[in-house]
């Protein structure tokens, strides 16, 4: 699980071009949207693509994304339970 959390932090920084962040800056429970990393709606779409591309998870319900993308810890738990890759 720790490895997956680390992997997700690296991917999010790289794929969402978070130049001002390092892995060490992101705590497992930090909010990804709003006051946390400050991600926006386009970033949310990019995360949905990442789930499909890298983990074989297709989100069909946008409300589902709101819950899953709350933090790295929650996202990692969801991927562990649902991954097809």
């Amino acid at each position: 699980m720790a490895d997956l959390r680390q992997e997700l932090k690296e991917k999010i920084i790289e794929q969402l071009n978070l130049e001002e962040f390092t892995v060490a800056d992101i705590a497992d429970d930090d909010a990804l949207f709003g006051d946390g990393l400050g991600l926006d709606s386009i970033d949310a779409l990019e995360l949905i693509v990442m789930l499909d591309k890298d983990y074989g998870i297709q989100l069909t319900d946008p409300k589902e994304g709101k819950e899953i993308f709350k933090s790295i810890a929650i996202l990692a738990d969801y991927i562990t339970d649902n991954r097809a890759k």
Partner: protein, 208 residues
């Protein structure tokens, strides 16, 4: 008597160099655009995390505009009616190619939303407007080459009809490894007369 308008300042970015009003502001030995523009943004203290998410054309336009608008020392407590009239030759072709590459393989079909949003040239105007809180007139023209007359007519019209108090005009082009930005601010105050000949003269100063 008709009001006369002036070019109050101008900024150029080309060949790893940035100038403001003809004076060198930043230069680098880095030839590749992305590391160069990142280095320039850091050097010029452009503290704006969203900058790093932009495509190449938007980074180019945004940085030139940011240099000009910061230099204008606008009162941040007042809303400014600064129209934006930009132009180029390659439209958003650089990002269009990147997006095309992401959807060309049916076996590996993962179109990127963050690339797709930049597949229009006028998105760079949106980026400038968001940063500087501009709720103003804007347009983006595509020409075969720099068209000073057309930019002049548009800026004059916006100012004379009081659609804007200033107009941020210019040329911002990105294609393959070639990039060039020439942006200038037109308003009542200034030293350089706002006319096609002066616009052409300033544009040519860095054409070597």
């Amino acid at each position: 008597m008709d009001k006369t308008y002036h070019i109050s300042s101008y900024c150029q970015i080309k060949n790893s160099r940035i100038s403001l009003d003809g004076k060198l502001l930043f230069s680098s030995s880095i030839q590749e655009f992305q590391p160069f523009i990142k280095s320039a943004a850091q050097h010029l203290n452009t503290k704006y995390p969203k900058f790093y998410k932009m495509d190449n054309l938007s980074k180019l336009a945004f940085l030139a505009a940011d240099i000009l608008l910061k230099n204008a020392e606008l009162d941040s407590n007042t809303e400014h009616n600064i129209a934006i009239v930009l132009s180029n030759k390659a439209s958003s072709l650089d990002t269009d190619r990147t997006y095309q590459a992401s959807i060309s393989d049916t076996e590996n079909f993962f179109p990127s939303p963050s690339v797709f949003v930049y597949t229009l040239p006028n998105i760079c105007i949106g980026e400038i407007s968001i940063k500087h809180q501009l709720h103003s007139e804007n347009c983006f023209f595509i020409f075969d080459s720099f068209n000073a007359d057309h930019l002049w007519i548009n800026a004059q019209s916006l100012l004379k009809q009081q659609k804007a108090e200033k107009v941020l005009c210019g040329w911002v082009d990105f294609d393959d490894k070639n990039y060039e930005a020439f942006l200038y601010l037109v308003e009542e105050n200034g030293i350089i007369a706002h006319n096609p000949n002066e616009i052409k003269r300033l544009f040519k100063t860095w054409q070597t």
